[in-house]
């Protein structure tokens, strides 16, 4: 009996080892394939996520809400403190509201005077955040809107106030948003009073870095940062946040969007810009087509011959 088992084990172990080897080679092969042809494998990933995550949907939302409820209950405990704080903030906000109303009126007047037409095509789709990246080194969220809702890779997302990220990876019913804090995120921005262009580079911290700034002396902490629209990926003028200095005196951006809790995100539909490729005719309109030109040339010749005869 014991010998029997031993002989079985002797067969089973090499076969098993080979199978495990094959499995490992397959996995490493997938990795290599991903490295060589990333878009195809990422499309496969998007499809798989599209299958798996919405089937968790029934559980994802209630559990998230439940934890939110518990956190809400905790904050309930320090209600009076919060009340004070809110009153203080409300007073400040009222002052701001006055200022904002005046500015709005002024702005409306100026726009009217200038006959400015804001882009009417900038509409949005709102999606619910289903899941986050689940990895400490990636900052992304999954939305419950996808190709079915007309979402396209590269569109900007905001939380209503500030820019949060861009769409990267679209499934049928879901799409992934790479947040500005992700270490792969690079966004062209303008820093407002000085109008300088820079790149906002996420580095896996709450406040992304400002890179490629031409003249850092003209930028002060507290300056507004908006998207610049360079590169044609993003609409220009979306609020990103405020400049801040970190302890190492590097310029960072304190984001306007509330990253503590992203529940709903707006995906801005941006349409392809018209691209002007040629420099255009500088002086004369383009020459007429060849055939009429030939016809026109003959009478001119006869005229010229007559001229020489005469």
């Amino acid at each position: 009996m014991a010998r029997d088992r031993n002989s079985q084990v002797d067969y089973a172990r090499p076969v098993r080892r080979i199978l495990i080897g094959v499995l490992v080679v397959l996995m490493l092969g997938t990795f290599l394939l991903w490295r060589i042809d990333s878009p195809r494998v990422e499309r496969f990933r998007a499809t798989l996520v599209d299958r798996v995550v919405p089937s968790f949907d029934w559980a994802l939302l209630p559990v998230t809400k439940l934890v939110g409820l518990v956190e809400g209950f905790q904050s309930y405990a320090r209600l009076s403190e919060q009340n004070q704080e809110l009153r203080r903030e409300l007073r400040q906000m009222k002052a701001w509201k006055e200022a904002a109303l005046q500015l709005e009126q002024e702005n409306a007047k100026l726009l009217d005077l200038n006959k400015v037409r804001l882009d009417p095509k900038l509409t949005y789709v709102t999606g619910v955040v289903l899941a986050d990246s689940g990895s400490p080194f990636r900052q992304s969220v999954l939305l419950n809107v996808g190709a079915r809702d007309g979402i396209v890779d590269g569109w900007a997302t905001t939380d209503g106030l500030g820019l949060t990220g861009r769409i990267s990876g679209v499934g049928k019913n879901t799409s992934r948003v790479i947040l500005l804090t992700d270490s792969n995120s690079r966004i062209p921005v303008t820093i407002q009073p000085s109008g300088q262009q820079a790149i906002l580079a996420g580095d896996n911290t709450a406040a992304p870095l400002i890179e490629f700034l031409e003249n850092p002396d003209q930028v002060r902490p507290g300056d507004r940062v908006v998207s610049s629209g360079d590169g044609g990926v993003f609409p220009a003028g979306l609020l990103v946040g405020q400049v801040a200095l970190d302890p190492e005196r590097r310029l960072r951006v304190r984001l306007a969007a509330d990253y503590e809790r992203l529940e709903f995100l707006r995906v801005l539909r941006s349409h392809a810009h018209e691209v002007i490729t040629d420099t255009g005719g500088l002086i004369a309109p383009p020459p007429p087509p060849a055939a009429p030109l030939a016809e026109a040339a003959e009478p001119a010749e006869t005229v010229a011959e007559e001229g020489t005869d005469g």
């Binding site: 084990v9 991903w34 490295r35 990933r45 968790f56 986050d132 080194f137």
Partner: protein
């Protein structure tokens, strides 16, 4: 007639899959979308390593491979690399187990520490070689340390809650090596 040991083994396998699914689910919950200052432990890694050394018959390499690959896909890692490395590491720990049925926990922890740190370094090196944008070695090692801190807890809880412990040589005879 199904052997009761087989039934039990498949029960435990289902339990393993369910636990892995719960861990994955918890990590996907959009509770905190702020970037974390410290990376948390990789609990799926703790669970697989703790179980593969206690009950190697439960943690089937193909099951483990499938779970790891799925988590690679869902968590946005480069697909396949981490799964392959962890699978090889688990097989290494399994082969260690074969020799010594009675292993003090301190030695086990030392082996697991070596393996987890080697995993982090190998992962970092592989990503570097293939020029994939990747987290720094310090961050990966930090995560490895948190994983190691969580390891005794996971091992203890598996023992308390699910009675996952090393089988004595007599018991291994009944549940064959598979």
């Amino acid at each position: 007639m199904v052997d009761p040991a087989t039934t039990q083994r498949w029960g435990y396998r289902l339990l393993f899959v369910a636990l892995a699914a719960v861990l994955l689910f918890l990590r996907l919950l959009p509770l905190d979308t702020m970037p974390a200052t410290l990376p948390g432990p990789d609990l799926l890694l703790c669970l697989s390593f703790a179980w593969v050394q206690r009950r190697p018959d439960i943690v089937n390499p193909f099951l483990l491979g499938a779970l790891l690959f799925l988590s690679d896909i869902l968590l946005g890692r480069p697909p396949g690399l981490w799964a392959a490395l962890v699978l090889l590491a688990a097989e290494f720990l399994r082969s260690r187990h074969q020799g010594s049925a009675e292993m003090p926990f301190a030695i086990e922890l030392a082996f697991v520490s070596g393996t987890v740190i080697a995993l982090a370094v190998a992962y970092w090196a592989a990503l570097g070689i293939f020029a994939v944008p990747h987290p720094g070695l310090d961050e990966l090692l930090m995560q490895a340390i948190f994983t190691l801190m969580a390891y005794p807890v996971v091992a203890g809880l598996s023992r308390l809650a699910f009675n996952i412990r090393r089988l004595s040589p007599g018991e291994t005879e009944t549940g064959a090596l598979r």
